[in-house]
């Protein structure tokens, strides 16, 4: 039984097309022209209870729009969303009782008050039983290391401290589903690890379904079992992380800074040339097919190598690879 069902979901925004000048302004007032932008173009997926799903894609791919429709903050243009048996945008308050959400750096904590006061308010609002509240608070304080933060005013916390408190606040009422929209943005490695561990622990213990959007692939690697990839409003990959990781781990991009090239490098063994000019050469290859040493040998026939930068494939590269792979299957 799926806890979240999304069927043929479409979201179209109407945006007023602005015209220049006073004439344009008056024209707009009388008869506004609309531009239609379709942010989400008919997506389908089901999520089961207890799943940890990474919902990823580039900026503007439609991730936040989807999350907003799942939480009931936006109404779909067409299609169906059912969360825990409820249509969220029709019965928002009822849906709110079952969910928790973090939106980037927006905070639900009260700025001028100690963190613990915000927690107490959440306890009252969600009617969390006293013993449940104590148990959660104790556990969360332990994992997220909140001991010294609870009595501090929110305005005196650093970004990382604030986010740890925010995450704790979101899970306090034992929500069935939690939406985390870029919870690790702008945080240092230690805080990120802390938060990842927390999400995994809670998921294991309480079977909380978590939907995580992020640009940090390490988040996905660490936390998620399943990945849904979105590109320009469409799902281009939906499946296990392992498959995603295999593809992700294989590719490496190397940029060679070169000098005195004698002829065009048209072909390299087991590697693809991405970019080539007088000063540099960008190459993509797979670890199991060739090595950087072999490539250097080959390239030095054409020119002098001055420097090498090696980087792991970016989200966009992986995304394209998976797209191809999905087509082959």
């Amino acid at each position: 039984m799926s806890i979240i069902e999304v069927k043929d979901l479409v979201k179209t925004y109407k945006i007023i097309q602005k015209e220049d000048g006073l004439k344009g302004y008056i024209k707009n007032l009388i008869k506004p022209k609309y531009n239609e932008i379709t942010a989400v173009k008919g997506i389908n997926f089901n999520i089961n209870e207890g799943e940890l799903v990474g919902y990823i894609g580039e900026n503007g791919a439609g991730k936040s729009t989807t999350i907003k429709m799942l939480t009931g903050l936006l109404s779909p243009t067409s299609g169906k969303v059912i969360v825990n048996g409820i249509v969220p945008n029709e019965k928002r308050i009822e849906n709110n009782k079952n969910i928790g959400a973090v939106f980037g750096q927006k905070t639900q904590l009260w700025w001028d008050l100690p963190v613990i006061e915000s927690f107490r308010l959440i306890k009252k609002m969600y009617k969390i039983p006293e013993n449940e509240y104590r148990k959660n608070l104790k556990k969360f304080t332990e994992i997220l290391d909140l001991e010294d933060l609870l009595e501090k005013q929110v305005k005196n916390l650093s970004l990382g401290q604030k986010m740890r408190c925010e995450i704790a606040a979101t899970f306090l009422h034992n929500p069935k589903i939690v939406y985390l929209d870029e919870p690790t943005i702008g945080l240092d490695v230690f805080v990120k690890e802390n938060i990842r561990k927390f999400i995994k622990d809670i998921n294991k213990e309480k079977k909380t379904t978590v939907i995580l959007t992020t640009h940090d692939l390490k988040d996905i690697e660490d936390v998620c079992d399943r990945i849904i990839l979105l590109d320009k409003g469409k799902i281009i990959y939906d499946g296990e992380k392992q498959k995603f990781k295999d593809t992700y781990g294989k590719y490496v991009i190397a940029e060679f800074i070169i000098n005195s090239k004698n002829r065009t490098i048209s072909n390299l063994d087991n590697a693809t040339i991405l970019e080539e000019n007088e000063k540099s050469l960008k190459v993509k290859f797979m670890h199991n097919e060739t090595t950087i040493v072999k490539l250097m040998n080959e390239i030095s026939n054409y020119c002098i190598i001055e420097d090498i930068h090696i980087k792991e494939a970016e989200l966009e590269d992986i995304l394209k690879e998976i797209y191809k792979g999905a087509h082959k299957c």
């Binding site: 915000s118 609002m125 969600y126």
Partner: protein, 263 residues
Amino acid sequence: MLKSMLALGKMQFYQYNIYKSNFYLFTLNRIVEIVVYIFVWQAIYTQTGNAGGYTIAQMITYYILVFTLSSLSCWGVNEDMAHSIRNGNINKELLNPLSYFQYYFGVNIGEMGFALVTGIATFIICSLVWGITVPVSFINFLLFITIILLGIPITFFFTMITGTFGFYSSSIWGMQILRKSIISIFSGIIAPITLFPKWFQNIANILPFKELIYTPINIWLGQITVNEIIFVILKQVIWIGILYLVAKLFFNHAIKKVTINGG
């Protein structure tokens, strides 16, 4: 639900209390205003000896009570609403297990609590300095409290109406000024309504703002009969209904705009 709203009120009250200077400054500000009004009226009374059927002692009591009560009717959650609409925190507020109105009514309780504390402080200080006419009877005092309590939902729904303009315009500063002016003119904060021209009094009689300040003070001073008070309460209840409906319909329209085209 009531517990949640009270908890919210407590939070808002604490939030104000963090800045202790707020309390002293608000109270001081009140007292300065009262001093100005009392001087003006003392000057007028030495010339004419009478104004609007009040003795000078009653007039001084009128203004002390005005500034005890004025924060209750002039403050509101407009700024909090506008702020959260602008910075996107509205999304978080809409995800609360309470409705938007319940959430802000809770916040409003805290706001009113703080207004009451500064009001009472003003009252104590001023009545020690200038003296005050006591309520004509205990019944009148209870009715005074009742009318004031009934005024709280009236100001709240009125605030929600002006606050909802924040969904359409990024600045509601003008709206706020307008709201405060309407309240201070028609509630009798500036001067007792009987001193205004007849046509103005007719408008004030229809609008619900007179019952925020002018009417309860006149109950205190014994200028209104019990029969009239029953009518006043009926009028307030009807206005609560009207303002609630308008606020709710307007807000539902505004929120649709947000949920259809995004924040």
